[in-house]
Point group: C2
Chain length 169, copies 2
DNA sequence: ATTTGATTGACAGTATACTTACAATATGGC
DNA sequence: GCCATATTGTAAGTATACTGTCAATCAAAT
């Protein structure tokens, strides 16, 4: 007789890691946007601002490696940050292809002011769990993301941020 | 003296739950698409197919509640599934606004055939963890998604799927 | 019965998140 | 110096994932 096919149910979908990751991402974005509504900033825009703050004069390609963010999408993100006058793009002298990224004064100010809201958002995401469970989940998730880094289409390359310093040194 | 501002670093971003959820979602989608390349189906399209299979004759609004998926986006998803002849939309007799959803023969066949690939993908996402850690992570994540359900802009309403049966009964 | 309010699917708009492709430019091998 | 190759930013295309709004329709209250 033919081997029995497992039943196809929604419960199987609800229990699948992929479904849970998608759901959790939806929830995380909703909470972030709600807490940071006053600043009109998305999670990705925030990550970009932090990276540019930490590495002034970084270029778009390295920025994409530092926040594990697709280069093409990042172009649009930067464009929006530029429209909001939070970020400046200056052509590099040594390499005419490259445009270097800097925070504007208002970008730096916004970043300073938004931090408490961001922290509130991050806390809210894990709020429903017991403190010990929050630590466990974060630890496992950190591990898993790190071990799966290469499986992503845009692996994180945090160390790339430093390369633009080595160029002239 | 003024209170000390916490330093703004990328390490803080890398350790934030929101960042980890986004990263894990990226990775999960990449793995799913890779494993299911032969079937040319995305995670959301798969969830929609399963829901329509489980609830034949469901309408788009209820489907969105059952897979916790925004109604507007779902319209496009269904359109793509229709273009690929995996799903049929039939106008309801009792309510002229409603279009009922059904799997086509090839939709049902594809769903049957893709299951092993989907299961491989789901397994791969957690592969790097030790078996005990996989269980722990899944349990905590299931809890957290459930407890945060209302925080999402499109809360899951699994029970909504049954309403269309009660209408005429 | 008519009006009020809710529901349904559709549309336009914004923002990720990826793909491939391309022109401009740089770099390394020769 | 020249040429093959690589890099950089950009653009077009697809697919989520949301916000609104809208017309058609339905249901319920008067």
């Amino acid at each position: 007789m033919p081997s029995k096919t497992p039943p196809i149910t929604m419960d199987a979908v609800y229990a699948a890691p992929g479904y849970l990751f998608r759901r959790m991402q939806q929830i995380a974005v909703a909470i972030f946007v709600e807490e940071c509504r006053a600043f009109d900033l998305t999670p990705v825009q925030y990550a970009a601002l932090v990276a540019i703050h930490t590495h002034p004069g970084i270029d778009a390609t390295r920025l994409s490696a530092v926040i594990a963010f697709d280069r093409s999408t990042l172009g649009n993100v930067i464009e929006r940050l530029e429209t909001k006058s939070l970020v400046e793009r200056k052509p590099a002298r040594e390499d005419k292809r490259v445009k270097l990224l800097y925070l504007t004064k208002s970008g730096a100010a916004l970043l300073r002011d938004i931090v408490p809201s961001v922290e509130r958002a991050q806390a809210r995401m894990l709020q429903p769990l017991k403190p010990a469970d929050r630590k466990t989940l974060l630890a496992l998730l950190t591990q898993l993301v790190d071990l799966n880094n290469e499986a992503s289409r845009v692996p994180l390359r945090a160390e790339d941020a430093l390369e633009h310093l080595g160029k002239s040194n």
